[in-house]
Subunit: 118 residues, 2 copies
DNA sequence: TTAGTAACTAACAAAAAAGTAAGTAATGAG
DNA sequence: CTCATTACTTACTTTTTTGTTAGTTACTAA
């Protein structure tokens, strides 16, 4: 749980106010968040499918990440009344607007990895 | 200090390999890094000047951040043989290539903040 | 009735990141 | 000789994030 009185928290808020890119990082700057988002965008929509494509993620981290993305309105949960239970996650329009940012970050990352190789 | 044997570290490396945007986040995904980078890019080049424009950063965090940006070859240090001592930091060409990514993140952040207001 | 599957949650521990307080080195001014 | 300035470093603590293990609910198939 976040401690709202901490200097750490206040500094984060100051930076989000002073530097809008910190707001962007607020949505994607965690270990598994951008990866989960990316996979959902690619059409991997279910809990267990996400676990397959991200083999080292733990149940807890996947659930946490999904919960935060849902609270932030980046993805939405759809519950299908079937058995066995089927729940799927989809990008919201707001979430989709983040993808082009991730794409540019991806391009820069790929480029950098290439240059390091050479 | 980073523990190279930790699951945390291994997961980070897996993600940098699997999702190139994680490589980008590796360079800017910390509390003060993108802000310091941004300010240096805007022409704030000295330790004490950076402290002025980022009033809540501690000496230690600023020094750490500058050191990491230097090790990552994003900025470079220029020492002027003057008294009092003058040291300035400048973006490298590699560092400059990151700015367009930060600019897009900034635009998305500004937009999002605007939408939240309305 | 036992086992299995999907999608989780809770309690706890370890690791990493950030913050605090004090100190350092080189120089020059008074 | 003491103080001020610039640009840091060190030792330590707190906060935050990540990971581990075990359990839960609702259903179905054998």
């Amino acid at each position: 749980m976040r401690k709202l009185s901490s200097v750490n928290f206040k500094n984060e808020k100051f930076l989000e106010y002073d530097c809008p890119f910190m707001t962007t990082l607020h949505f994607i700057g965690k270990r598994w968040k951008p990866a989960v988002l990316w996979k959902i965008n690619e059409g991997v929509n279910r809990f267990n499918e996400l676990k397959k494509v991200l083999p080292y993620i733990s149940d807890k981290m996947l659930a946490n990440t999904i919960n935060e993305l849902t609270e932030d309105l980046i993805i939405e949960k759809k519950i299908y009344d079937e058995t066995p239970l089927r729940i799927e996650y989809y990008m919201t329009d707001f979430g989709k607007s983040l993808i082009s940012v991730l794409e540019q970050m991806n391009a820069w990352g790929e480029n950098t990895l290439q240059e390091i190789k050479n």
